[in-house]
Symmetry: C2
Subunit: 132 residues, 2 copies
């Protein structure tokens, strides 16, 4: 799932969440930061991961339990960000899956990485093996 980040996307995300940090919205402010120009919200890229999880792998029916996010590089306006999700681990005792999640830009550089944990559809097991 690839998305080119537009100024309109960033402005809509700012309105939606209330995160109007000027590094996202104000070109002249951003020019004075270490980034040199406006960047997208980190959580916007996380939203692209959520989109893959919610629509493709594992898709509807799963329940989002956990997400870790390491913001590796800034996402600039105009960047083409691709969210990638791969299965890392499936618990043998419970319907819980861990996925490696990351976003790469048009240069193939990882801008965001982390892991997601989801509960797959169906009721959780309630067998004798208590555990976690």
């Amino acid at each position: 799932m690839t998305r080119v980040v537009t100024p309109e996307d960033v402005e809509a995300f700012a309105r939606l969440t209330g995160d109007d940090n000027p590094v996202h919205l104000d070109e002249s402010y951003a020019a004075g930061t270490r980034f040199g120009r406006r960047i997208a919200h980190g959580i916007f890229a996380a939203g692209l991961i959520s989109a893959v999880l919610g629509t493709k792998l594992p898709g509807p029916g799963a329940v989002y339990l956990h997400q870790s996010l390491d913001f590796k590089l800034p996402v600039f306006l105009g960047d083409a960000v691709t969210a990638e999700v791969t299965v890392a681990q499936v618990r043998p005792d419970k319907p819980i899956v861990t996925l490696d999640t990351r976003c790469v830009n048009q240069d193939g550089a990882v801008v965001l990485s982390g892991q997601a944990v989801l509960l797959m559809g169906g009721p959780p097991e309630t067998g004798a093996r208590g555990g976690t």
Copy 2:
């Protein structure tokens, strides 16, 4: 920072990220899930945390390095979600701060918890104490 989650918010978030999982958008589908009705995207609540980090504590100038998110309870449409951020730890050797981050609903129940790590403004130290 408190926000009442509206259907329009959830629909805008779905359009913005591409996460059109029907549990967020389709009332009749959602009625058949464990939630019983439509829920907001988990990452939408994370956006409210990002808003506090980006505008209040620590505010503009800090760089988002990491965020962990434990989705504890669903956020339903109409819920009033408050994002709360408190300082957990300040590294003595580097301008890096760890913050406890959470969102609570109108009943005071924690719907999302985790930690954020941010690099404060200014150049990182390059002193003799190498370390991580």
